[in-house]
Subunit: 193 residues, 2 copies
Amino acid sequence: MPKVKQFNREKVLEAAANIFRQNGYNGTSIDDILKATGLSRSSLYDSFRDKHSLYLAALEFYKHTENHMFEEAGKKKLNGIQKIEYVFKEVVNYLATHPDDNGCLMVNAAAEMSKQCEQTAQIVCNNKDSIEELFTVWLDEAKKAQNIKLSKPAKTYGTFLYNTLCGLKVLSQSGASKSDLNNVVKLSLEALN
Amino acid sequence: MPKVKQFNREKVLEAAANIFRQNGYNGTSIDDILKATGLSRSSLYDSFRDKHSLYLAALEFYKHTENHMFEEAGKKKLNGIQKIEYVFKEVVNYLATHPDDNGCLMVNAAAEMSKQCEQTAQIVCNNKDSIEELFTVWLDEAKKAQNIKLSKPAKTYGTFLYNTLCGLKVLSQSGASKSDLNNVVKLSLEALN
DNA sequence: ATGTAGTCGGAATAAATATTCCAATGAATT
DNA sequence: AATTCATTGGAATATTTATTCCGACTACAT
């Protein structure tokens, strides 16, 4: 049998996602990636085809990571509203405690790449749809349990909450403090009537 | 007297801002800029120093353009709330009617450059502060005129509205429809109690 | 008309870039 | 121990990049 893989694919994708998040796609060189992932040049091209394919793989990985956090929230013994609160608390906490991480790879991808790369646009769009949908499900859950009464379709509020989420990720890159972010979350949640 | 300038500085900055908005800083080459602005290579370096300085100048120009629209809203015979409504309507309309413009240069700069370039971070931060402040003034105005009663400091709502604004600019790059954007605005404005 | 000084076009440069290629390495099976 | 083959390091390549430089041009005051 041949030599076994010396690197862990998930660790590599995580490191790649981090470096792309910091510098953007066009701002990250192959050498940057090699340094960040510890990969050899050959391994990168052998296992991930090229820089662009690695970027898309890292973006997908990032999406799954974030979705995983959302699904964890979904499994908790909380009502719909509390799940939403939990998710926003997690996001704000992450943004505030990782000031050097340059926000969110997905938002950065939407800003930098969605008009240059159709595949990125697809991932960004799918991500929006799935998170929006998750919010919507939780809102319907809360409505059925009579924790809340929505004067509009739940989907409308789902979009609103996703908009808040995207805003937070930009705001954290624009010099906002943690209490700023918390206040935004508080007002957004109070808007659910 | 020497030959007079053959190009209009504002037009150049506008064209530069547009191409940077579409491709990002690192995604835009000098050749892209020359094509977009009609400038000669020599003129670019003579009049704008280098690519990076041109980027910062274009970002400042973009900021002034957006601020101008906001100040126009401020001059209208509208109450505070109506001014806010007007501004959001303008933004949504622009985003929806310019699908190829890749959103907002300021948001894209925050995402792509704020961690790589201290000067960009400064401009982004100043922009946040001034727009937030404008919202806050208008909210205070509306409160004084008893068009609204705010249960929290006006500044808190100002930040919230700026967050909504940033969200909209990301959302429009993530496949959201115009009615999605309108619904987000509607819910955000209803949150002002 | 002539001189002046900023403008322009494009060649030249120098550096950075993504990607390919190949020989050497090393882990696991036989 | 020998064989196997993916992995690895690094040199080599080809392209793109930002920037500089210089000669030609042109609009204006004299």
